[in-house]
């Protein structure tokens, strides 16, 4: 990496780092100055200390829940992509079903968390995976489908002029063109999967689960631990998002629509 690139990277990230430092400092200062109850918001130093003290149980709980999230992500996303391919290949089917898919995504999935726990068992990680999967399914389906069906008509015409068949057109044009959209959906799903797993655990789960750890800590007024757990949950979510974003960058570096901020 040349010096110029390193410099550019530093400059790019400097504002974010500055905000982070200022944020933490403000947090520490304001909590002390306003004598905020420890219940609401412990000082960052307190949370950091708790983090260190409880690192083992936090780590294991985090991994446990992350596995549920990962499973749900894999299940929900692959289903979403599969259904998107079907809808894109058989348009009438898609046009008929997409309104239902959209309506279904409007249903507050949290209402189904207790039902999944009942179906698959409170202590069974699959119940939380199912919740995560449902949360992932819709964004991946909607975004991937949009990508598969918003190709420049001229690109399709070109393929037809080569007498390329439907499958070939799919493989060579639609699927590559849909990758940026698909990744947009996958990034959303990555964050939602972790949240889905924790929401599920809040309605009941084994004590090895992060959501249960946070819930119990709150119930026993051990708020530094609760907050440390929240930080762990967030950290896993960020790492998961980052991993998907990295995969996106590696596979779609050709996409000219990538701008200087990451949205979607």
């Amino acid at each position: 990496m040349s010096w110029a690139v390193v410099q550019r990277r530093v400059v790019d990230w400097a504002p974010a780092v500055a905000v982070f430092v200022l944020g933490i400092a403000a947090w520490q200062g304001l909590v002390a100055a306003f004598n905020v109850q420890e219940f609401l918001l412990p000082k960052p130093t307190v949370i950091a200390q708790t983090f260190w003290d409880e690192r083992s149980s936090l780590w294991h709980a985090g991994i446990y829940t992350f596995k549920e999230a990962l499973g749900g992500f894999a299940l929900g996303s692959s289903l979403g992509i599969a259904v998107a391919l079907v809808f894109a290949a058989f348009r009438p089917l898609g046009t008929a079903f997409i309104p239902f898919a959209v309506a279904a995504s409007a249903i507050p999935i949290i209402a189904f968390a207790p039902i999944f726990n009942n179906w698959f068992g409170l202590l069974n990680p699959f119940s939380k995976m199912a919740i995560a999967a449902v949360l992932c399914f819709f964004p991946v389906l909607v975004n991937t489908l949009r990508g598969l069906t918003s190709v420049d008509p001229r690109a399709i015409e070109l393929m037809r002029s080569y007498a390329a068949g439907r499958v070939s057109i799919f493989r060579r044009v639609r699927i590559p063109a849909s990758l940026p959209h698909m990744f947009a959906g996958l990034k959303i799903a990555s964050v939602l999967s972790m949240i889905g797993a924790i929401v599920g655990e809040y309605f009941g789960g084994p004590i090895t689960a992060l959501g249960v750890l946070i819930l119990n800590a709150s119930a026993y007024t051990n708020f530094p631990v609760a907050w440390a757990g929240i930080v762990v949950a967030s950290a896993f979510g960020i790492l998961f998002y980052g991993a998907v974003a990295l995969a996106e960058r590696l596979t779609t570096s050709w996409d000219p629509s990538r701008r200087d901020f990451h949205t979607e």
Binding site: D12, W13, A14, P15, A16, V19, F20, G23, Q37, F39, L40, L41, A96, P99, A103, S105, A106, I107, P108, I109, I110, A111, F112, P114, I115, N118, W119, F120, T149, S150, V151, D152, P153, A155, I156, V191, M194, I195, I198, V199, Y202, F203, G211, I214, L215, S218, F223, A226, G229, I230, A233, S234, A235, G237, Y241, D260, F261, H262, T263, E264
Partner: protein, 293 residues
Amino acid sequence: MASIAIEQPGRARVGEATHAAKRAGLVVVGVAVFWGLWEAYRWIGETLGITWPFRVDATNMPHIHDMLAAFNKPLQPGGPTLLHYEWHWALFTAKEALLGFVLGALIGFGLAVLLAHSRILRRGLLPYIVISQTVPILAVAPMVVVGLGTKGVTPWISVAVIATFLTFFPVAMNTLRGLLSPDPRSLELMRSYAADRRSVLWKLRVPASLPFVFSALKLSATACVIGAIIGETPASIQDGLGGAIVNFNQYYSTGPERLWATNIVCAVLGLVFFTAIVVAERLVLHRAPEHVA
């Protein structure tokens, strides 16, 4: 960019009426299909004794007509029907969701305008805005409700705050994308008019961003309802759908249809909010039809 020849605007309106009728018909068909599938699976499952992925029995899969019938049954012996309660719970949650939606939309929009005008702020704040959504708001909800409570904020407003948290994000991100979407030519044109930043914002960026804003509002419509229900649950607020879910979940085995009935109400609430935005979008947006394959 050269485009298609002149359209006939009048003809479209006749087509729209039959289109809407077709849509309504499709909804009825869809509901019927779902109902059929549910009952069929239940029947097959019970006959064959299916236990994977879950046991098929009366507790796990109540009949749909039982779920609907539950609305008519009284909650307490001799008391008002479940429907009566569900209606009030739904209104309570809707109130929180609506406030959350409005606040979230305003904050999201304001944030987007701010970030659209400053690259430094974008670089500094965007990562944290994205990160904010990785925090399981469910876990933070009790702290928010109690904390705001000590400052004299009534619980339902605290729940609205939680709904705001889930709502502002799609609005902020999509609006930002929309505000930054005009191409360099459009911006050059504005420069040639010596237009100031405010004019560029209101005459170019904001109108250009409206399609993005509406797609975000559709996401937010569902997010605010989810946020409201999530906010109520751990804070043990009894007057809304979240509280109902927790209670009916606790006593699930004695009356599974009640939880399902509540879920139906949640679904309807989510759909109502979503449809409102779809209607608003139809009224407000007049854009070029997408030219895609």
